[in-house]
């Protein structure tokens, strides 16, 4: 069984308009009241993550934070053991 990709929450300063959704494919764009934008969604792996960060850099946007969000209640390893 493949472990699903981790979910990341990336916080940017400033709101993004809807057309950016395509550009951050697969991520949900939510506009926070404090003026930040939250991009949330699955990021396949580290390489994909660094690619995203680079895109953000190249657009001159301000990267506030990156967090990995726990999405599974059970730890992936534990679920494998249970299967055995």
């Amino acid at each position: 069984m493949e472990t699903p990709p981790p979910i990341y929450e990336i916080r940017l300063a400033g709101h993004l308009s809807p057309q950016w959704v395509d550009w951050f494919e697969g991520l949900t764009v939510s506009l926070e009241e404090d003026g930040d934008t939250l991009l949330t969604g699955p990021v396949a792996d580290q390489a994909a993550l660094h690619g995203l960060i680079k895109k953000i850099r190249d657009l001159g946007m301000i990267l506030v934070s990156i967090n990995r969000v726990q999405f599974n209640e059970s730890h992936p390893n534990r679920s494998n053991k249970e299967k055995k």
Partner: protein, 903 residues
């Protein structure tokens, strides 16, 4: 197409006209520059005016400067270095002192090798070249953040660590480069400007908005804007553009500052929205291009009211983020941020694809296959991309850009690639060239599967021939002789007559294989065919370069004069046809040096060696260091400097780069022979065990040298079982294949072996046979380097044949014997110096002879018998010897002689 340098990357952007002067920053840069720090880092995100600032500083600093604008494609080490050199070469135009127009030529030559020399040696050469520049200068690397390659980062770090004193390096990047910045800061060696420094101060913002952009904003408005954009220049600029011509800027500012939207996102809409529709369309469509010229824009836009050139110029005047890339206003690009934002707005993928196709077609028509490929790929037109990749192959391969080519093709989906037999074959070839034989075979099999699917009989034969040839080459690299022959012969059958180039490849593969099996006459024939084919194809360099291999073969066949002729002819041809590439004759001069050395022409040898060394510094030939060090080791051996010889052999071993020329004298065997001369039998025996050879095996040419070495080890051990048989078998094979050079070696080994067993008749017979072969060609060193044992045999031979020997041989033997006593001139100057300075009268040949026997421990009686002299004569000689050496007795005499290098 891949070779020409894009001048636009080297273009120094002139200072912009409508800008805010930033004296505080310029002063900071000047101050640290004058204080002696030689690394300046400008590290800030996009849109902070880095390039503008640096170009302004350059223009005013009064020093010669070189500029390199980096792009993603520069992530290849070779390409990066090529462009770095090209940038340095632009300095020659600015009348800077001490710089040649072709600075960096040495490094460029190194980069041409199929297998790159070590990065360290490339960098050392580069730094040496830079050191020749006498005036101080600045080198700017712009957009360093695009570099993602560890090897290039390593080069940069090395450069920074060893920055030549005349060079000031400026790096502009959107992120901190991987350098030890903390340490450099601490040592005061780094000048830095970061985002906080580059932001517009409120004063600068006011200046920009009102003076430069001609707006008439109140102080409050300016503050509001400055706060909203946080001094970000790109933001302020876009804001200014969107406010031009507005009657009520304050309202705009209020909406703008009241919105949370990302600055650029908000402003780009404003800016775009206010452009006339056709300009909007122009901007959107051309955003797919990395760089633009008028005619390219026309091609991409199809029917557009204005010409591309006019529009670009309009955009430049309107300050709409278009940046000229050259003096002539031919090429432009968008400011990175602008083009990113534009690309974002592209809704329809189909239209995007069409635009890319048009761009691809334009680039193809304008001979830029790289760009044409990338646009075809971006368009998703894989068939087109495949065709372009195939078209680009030959030129890229010739320019040693195989790795880059593989990178292109690997972008294409596997399914697409595997369905194209000719592309797969090219991949098979490419991987073979770079030494990844497993991948090569994989693609060859894909090609065969695709061919089987296509069932196109007409098409299949030429490709099948190529596939067989690539397999032959792979087998050769793996050392599998049988498979190499099999595939090489198969390929010759399958390759069509008119494909001269390919047939030549097959011929030379077969040629090398014949070489490895000892069939040298067949090998020579194949080489001659290949050289003719190369000349027919106009490839003089290959034809001339290969002469050293031909000479090697001729030496093995015992034809020293022919070898000399081949080398001389090639050197002449090089001078005539390719004077600019004369460094390829480094091998040839080395070959002539070693031939001269063999024949005892030491002065000539020294001269050739010097030429070879000079040329060798610049040579592109991949196995130069290997061959040079082997030759040096041989010379040290002749000088009896055993430890130096061993060191040099080690260097040679490490420098070896795999190539089709068979290794006929493995380094380990060569070292073993030196161990034997040093009397280190244990090390020699260790080699025998490690190598796992014995006297009871089938002989084959490739193992000949190892077997001859084994014979010598056994001789030193005193265990002769099986040795004669082995030597007989080697001799038989060598004679069948007419390899006189080998025959000579084997005969001499036989002679020594018999001598060691006190079988003088057989020893002298073998010696005589060898002399008959060596005399016409003037071999000398081969005898002398064997040392005392050989000398004794020659003396014996001479005495035995005193009455009846043919006149020729006697003179020849005398010459060889004389050479034993002579110190080697020129090559070992120190020996001569010692002897001259420390002895008033040198020893005569006879005295040296006797001294040597004394050193061996022979008594006077033995010596008199040996040399057919009366006992009293010997004693008389001894007295004179002791006098000259200022010694009291035999032991002292021997020690003194050794100190003087006589023994």
């Amino acid at each position: 197409m891949s070779a020409p340098i894009l001048a636009t990357k080297l273009y120094i952007p002139p200072p912009r006209q409508k800008i805010v002067p930033r004296p505080r920053l310029i002063e900071r840069l000047d101050a640290v520059f004058n204080a002696g720090s030689r690394l300046t880092l400008i590290s800030a995100p996009a849109g902070f005016g880095k390039t503008t600032l640096v170009s302004e500083w350059i223009a005013g600093c009064g020093r010669p400067a070189a500029w390199l604008s980096l792009e993603e494609g520069d992530n290849n080490l070779t390409r990066f270095l090529i462009y770095l050199i090209a940038a340095l070469q632009t300095l020659a135009l600015s009348k800077i002192g001490g710089i040649a127009a072709n600075i960096g030529a040495g490094v460029l030559a190194m980069l041409q090798s199929p297998q790159l020399p070590s990065t360290e040696s490339i960098l050392a050469t580069l730094l040496n070249e830079i050191a020749t520049i006498s005036d101080s200068f600045i080198l700017v690397l712009d957009d360093y953040h695009v570099i993602d390659s560890q090897s290039i980062d390593h080069v940069l770090a090395f450069l920074v660590e060893h920055l030549p004193s005349q060079m000031h390096l400026v790096i502009a990047s959107r992120e901190d480069p991987p350098l030890p910045l903390a340490r450099l800061r601490a040592c005061g060696q780094l000048a830095e400007l970061r985002a906080a420094d580059l932001c517009f101060t409120p004063t600068e913002a006011a200046d920009f908005l009102n003076q430069v952009m001609g707006l008439n904003l109140s102080a409050e408005d300016i503050t509001a804007l400055e706060t909203r954009t946080e001094g970000w220049i790109a933001g302020l600029k876009l804001a200014a553009i969107s406010m031009q011509g507005r009657s009520d800027p304050t309202r705009f500012i209020q909406s703008f500052t009241g919105s949370h939207r990302f600055v650029l996102d908000y402003l780009i809409e404003e800016v775009l929205g206010r452009q006339p529709e056709n300009i909007q369309m122009f901007l959107l469509r051309t955003s797919i291009l990395d760089r633009m010229c008028g005619s390219l824009c026309d091609a991409v836009l199809l029917d557009f009211p204005a010409s591309g050139q006019e529009t670009l110029e309009y955009l430049e005047h309107a300050n709409l983020f278009v940046i000229p890339l050259d003096q002539e206003r031919r090429w432009y690009r968008y400011h990175h941020l602008f083009s990113e934002l534009l690309r974002l707005r592209f809704g329809q993928p189909q239209e995007l694809s069409n635009l890319h196709l048009r761009a691809s077609a334009w680039y193809e028509a304008n001979d830029d296959l790289a760009e044409a490929f990338h646009h075809a790929f971006a368009a998703g037109d894989f068939e087109r991309a495949v065709r372009l990749a195939e078209a680009a192959w030959q030129e890229m391969e010739r320019n040693f850009q195989t790795v880059a080519w593989i990178g292109w093709v690997k972008k294409l989906p596997d399914a697409v690639v595997c369905s194209q037999p000719s592309l797969c074959v090219l991949l098979g070839r490419a991987f073979s060239d770079v030494g990844e034989l497993g991948s090569s075979e994989t693609y060859l099999q894909s090609a065969e599967r695709a061919l089987a699917d296509k069932k196109d009989q007409e098409q299949s034969s030429p490709l099948s021939g190529t596939i067989a040839l690539i397999r032959a080459s792979n087998a050769q690299n793996e050392g599998d002789l049988a498979e190499t022959v099999k595939y090489a012969e198969l390929s010759i059958q399958l390759i069509p007559e008119n494909d001269v180039y390919l047939r030549a490849q097959a011929a030379i593969t077969l040629g090398f294989t014949h070489w490895a099996t000892g069939n040298l006459e067949a090998s020579l024939r194949a080489m001659h065919t290949w050289v003719e084919d190369m000349q027919r194809l106009g490839n003089q360099e290959f034809a001339i370069a290969s002469a050293f291999a031909v000479a090697d073969m001729q030496v093995i066949l015992g034809r020293l004069s022919d070898a000399e002729k081949s080398l001389r002819q090639a050197i002449q041809q090089a001078a005539m046809h390719i004077p600019e590439a004369e460094s390829i004759t480094a091998h040839h001069h080395l070959g002539l040096a070693m031939l001269a050395h063999e024949r005892g022409n030491d002065a000539a040898a020294a001269q050739y060696l010097q030429t070879a060394a000079d040329l060798g510094q610049r040579t592109t030939l991949v196995d130069w260091l290997y061959r040079w060090n082997l030759a040096q080791a041989r010379l040290k051996e002749s000088d009896r400097e055993w430890d130096s010889a061993l060191d040099l052999l080690d260097v040679a071993g490490r420098a070896y780069v795999k190539n089709p020329i068979p290794i006929l004298r493995p380094v380990e065997a060569l070292k073993t022979r030196v161990y034997l001369k040093q009397g280190r039998l244990d090390k020699a025996q260790a080699w025998v065990r490690a190598r796992g050879i014995s006297t009871e095996v089938e002989v084959r040419y490739l193992d000949e040298y190892d077997h001859l070495t084994l014979a010598r080890v056994r001789m030193a051990e005193g265990s002769f079982a099986g040795v004669s048989g082995l030597l007989e078998r080697l001799l038989a094979l060598a004679e069948t294949q007419k390899r006189s050079g080998s025959v000579i070696e084997i005969l001499l080994t036989q002679a020594l072996v018999y001598q060691a067993q006190n079988d003088w008749p057989r020893a002298l017979t073998a010696l005589e046979r060898a002399l008959a072969l060596t005399e016409p060609e003037g071999y000398l060193r081969t005898f002398v380097d064997e040392g005392e044992a050989m000398r004794l045999m020659l003396v014996d031979f001479k005495s035995m044949n005193e009455k009846q020997a043919t006149h020729l041989l006697r003179d020849y033997v005398d010459k060889i014997l004389a050479a034993f006593s002579q110190p080697v001139e020129a090559i070992s100057k120190s020996t001569i110096a010692n002897q001259e300075s420390e002895m008033i009268e040198p020893l005569t040949n006879r005295e040296l002879e006797i001294l040597r026997l004394i050193a061996e421990g022979q008594s006077n009686a033995e010596i008199s018998q040996r040399l057919y002299l009366a006992l009293s004569t010997v004693k008389g000689h001894n007295l004179r010897i002791f006098n000259k050496l200022q010694a009291q007795n035999r032991t002292e005499a021997v020690v003194r002689a050794q100190e003087l290098g006589l023994l």
